[in-house]
Amino acid sequence: MRTPLIIAAVLVALAAVPPFLGLGLQNALVNVLIASLFALAFNLLIGQAGLLSFGHAAYFGVGAFATLHLMRIIEDGVIDFPTPLLPLAGAVAGLVVGAIAGFFATMRSGVYFALVTLAIAELFHALAPRWQGLFGGEAGLSSMRMPWGGITFGSTLQVYYLTLGWVAISIWVLWAYTRTPFGRLTLALRDNEQRVRFLGYNAHATKVIVFAVSAMFSGIAGALQATSNEVANYSLFSSHVSAQVVLYTFVGGSIVFFGPLLGAAIFTLFAYLISDLTRSWLLYQGLIFVLVMLYAPAGIGGIVQTHARHWQRLDWSRLAGPYALGGLGGGLVAAAVVFLTESLGVLFDEAYAVARRGAGGGYPPFEAFGIPWDPLSPVTWGVPLALFVVGLVLLLRARRAIAERWDAVRSAPAVPAAGPGPDARTASTQQIAG
């Protein structure tokens, strides 16, 4: 298998490259690592147990606040505690709160489960700014990492390595967990709860344990963020945080173990790179999410996995053409959409209204991508529209061609064994055909 080699290469790169990066990028990588762990912890619930939580911010936040409390005690000199083990506080708090919340939440399933988790997170969000002692009110809690064992933990790089260590170990544990008999049992729970119960297992207890473990790792992610930011306030509980992890997970692909990690890494890095360039980043994020839901329900990870599984039998000489065509079409459509969005953003902005007043009510040229455009010129709107149409036609063609060739691949005998379950296979099939 090549997988261990790839993982080793990624780990080596993650360990060796950052010292040569700027402070900003190091900090962004810390965020990537934290988001990845959070998404993987979240996916333990939906990907493994089939439980869709809309309130995972609660456990992320609880982990962060617990860590902050511990940091403050250490800072006050009450106890001596090794700084690298700070996230343990988040793990314990996540586990405990997750076990309690999970006990109630998993009494329900489906939509009702989602609503219970949503309500729990909203409770935290509404209560935290009022509860001065526990959550520090609206300003939140603040503290400082103390030096320990000759290491200051002052620089971003040291924080990065601390985070990397915790995230790598946590991910390994999460992965190992899915291999244990108990992990297999959770999978069975997702696919057919009735049967699990008839086999004599306690379905509720199993779900509570999965929920608590997921909350524990979410707590570790929150703790790592608290360790890095040295602050936590009630906004950690906001629905925005819960929404982000859902986005990461499903764009990355919830049925593949490393899918959520992929989604989290891509989105967090993109946010770092372009959030200062565009005000519409959240719109693009939403569009990507909906497109993935519609056309690739198994996510990016699902696509990668399907290719990996059929790698031996893929005839790239026949596939490369349609793929290039699809990439070109997608690129054209994306360029057109981005241009239109950014232009509209400029045109509907207050600053443009001011410019119009300055120009006596006319339509002065606006600037997008560093080039002035005439809003009344047909070229300004005709070219992106043409790009969009051409791109769309190319995409549709490419899709048909790709579906044809994949049908040929799949109809060939001897499907490799050891898939992650029947659901996964059908979903990834649909994503290619769809």
Partner: protein, 409 residues
């Protein structure tokens, strides 16, 4: 301040520590530049840029023009923490921020920690609008300067002016947002009762900028039968409160602190007439040259948060004139020390820094909404008519006991 062991830490990864010749002074603005509070964030950024342009027109600093870099904190303290680190990575020396006390609380702690860990390459924080008392109380430190008023300054000026005009009455209703600023306001309103000769009939704290319907609160105000309502509400919370009050036909005078936020007067219309405002500056007060110069450069007279921000940059300009690094490395501690000694002459009076807690001693302007004023706002015929200007020494309150500032040697 908690027991922060004063360890001098040196860190390896400070990319910008390498000295270059003629290091430019870099100012970072960490504001909400997207999301629901963008308009306020933009005003701060515009005002800083204007002030810096004035300094740069006179030759800049350290042989280079001052650079201004904007960072979008996305409206929250988590975003601010992230952007502060980015600002440090970009080599920013001075951070400006003002729109939110929660964000300021985050930045001031970030600055404090950064300075403990990186002696010799300190960063300072000029707070141009976050008014929470704790920033100059338990959270105070040497590298934080507040160039803004606080709740007691605004409230004392407001009740004195309203009482002198015979419009305060004896029954005051306090309604504020339930977070540090609103709580400070409520405390200040209660503390000023004896001096103002009124009774606080009721004090209400409510959720921040989430309430859609203020009618229940107006019913409560009406039931308490006050003469005056004093509120520190801002943005939607102020607008909706005043709208609901006018719809219910409530006959009370409002004493406010943020009525000058652009859009408020346009939205409230004639119902705003006669209400009071206590703030840092209105264009009709003091020497008009300041307002006219700003209008000539930016297109409108300075409003809302712009004046205190310009004053702060102006004071910084005076401090920079007192230090000289001869084109070499910039020492922020020297700039901070110089800033402590500076007195900036604003159009409404002098502004100076109180060394004990780095709160500025500054005048407070009380004005009233009237028709046909010199500077109408929001394209209406209404504007703010100055009632009184309370001089700095009269407006200031004693240093909070919770502030224990450690000064650099």
């Amino acid at each position: 301040m908690r027991t922060l062991a004063a360890f001098a830490l040196s860190t390896a990864a400070i990319a910008w520590a390498t000295p270059t010749m003629a290091e430019p002074l870099r100012i970072g603005i960490i504001e909400s530049l997207s999301g629901s509070q963008t308009s306020t964030g933009r005003l701060y950024a515009a005002a800083v840029q204007y002030g810096v342009d004035l300094i740069n027109a006179n030759g800049g600093f350290n042989g280079e023009p001052i650079e201004v870099i904007e960072y979008d904190n996305a409206g929250g303290s988590t975003g601010a923490a992230d952007k502060f680190r980015q600002a440090v990575a970009d080599g920013v020396h001075i951070v400006f921020q003002g729109a939110s006390s929660a964000v300021a609380g985050q930045i001031t702690e970030d600055v404090r920690r950064h300075n403990i860990r990186n002696p010799g390459s300190e960063v300072m924080f000029i707070n141009v609008g976050a008014e929470a008392m704790s920033l100059t109380g338990e959270q105070c430190h040497f590298y934080h300067f507040r160039y803004a008023t606080t709740a007691p300054m605004r409230v004392n000026a407001l009740v004195n002016a309203m009482a002198a005009a015979g419009e305060l009455g004896t029954r005051v209703f306090s309604i504020n947002q339930n977070y540090s600023w609103g709580q400070d306001m409520q405390a200040a309103i209660e503390a000023a009762a004896a001096a103002g000769g009124y009774e606080v009939v009721e004090a209400v704290l409510h959720d921040v900028n989430t309430i859609q319907d203020f009618a229940p609160f107006v019913a409560r105000i009406n039931a308490a039968d006050p003469d005056t309502v004093i509120t520190g509400n801002w943005s939607n919370d102020l607008l909706l409160l005043m709208k609901a009050a006018s719809e219910a036909g409530l006959d009370v005078r409002f004493g406010t602190t943020f009525l000058d936020q652009p859009g408020n007067i346009a939205n409230a219309g004639d119902t705003a007439l006669g209400h009071y405002l206590a703030n840092n500056y209105v264009p009709a007060a003091g020497d008009p040259a300041f307002a006219e110069a700003y209008a000539a450069a930016v297109g409108h007279v300075p409003v809302f948060v712009e004046p205190p921000t310009i004053f702060a940059v102006g004071a910084l300009g005076l401090a920079l004139a007192d230090v000289d690094f001869a084109g070499g490395e910039i020492d922020v501690t020297e700039i901070a020390k110089a800033l402590e000694g500076v007195t900036y002459e604003s159009p409404v009076g002098p502004i100076s820094v109180r060394a004990e807690d780095h709160q500025t001693i500054r005048p407070v302007v009380v004005s009233r909404v009237a028709r046909g004023t010199q500077y109408p706002v929001d394209d209406t015929d209404l504007g703010f008519e100055p009632v009184s200007v309370v001089a700095g020494p009269d407006a200031i309150y004693p240093v909070q006991a919770s502030c224990e500032m450690e000064r650099p040697d």
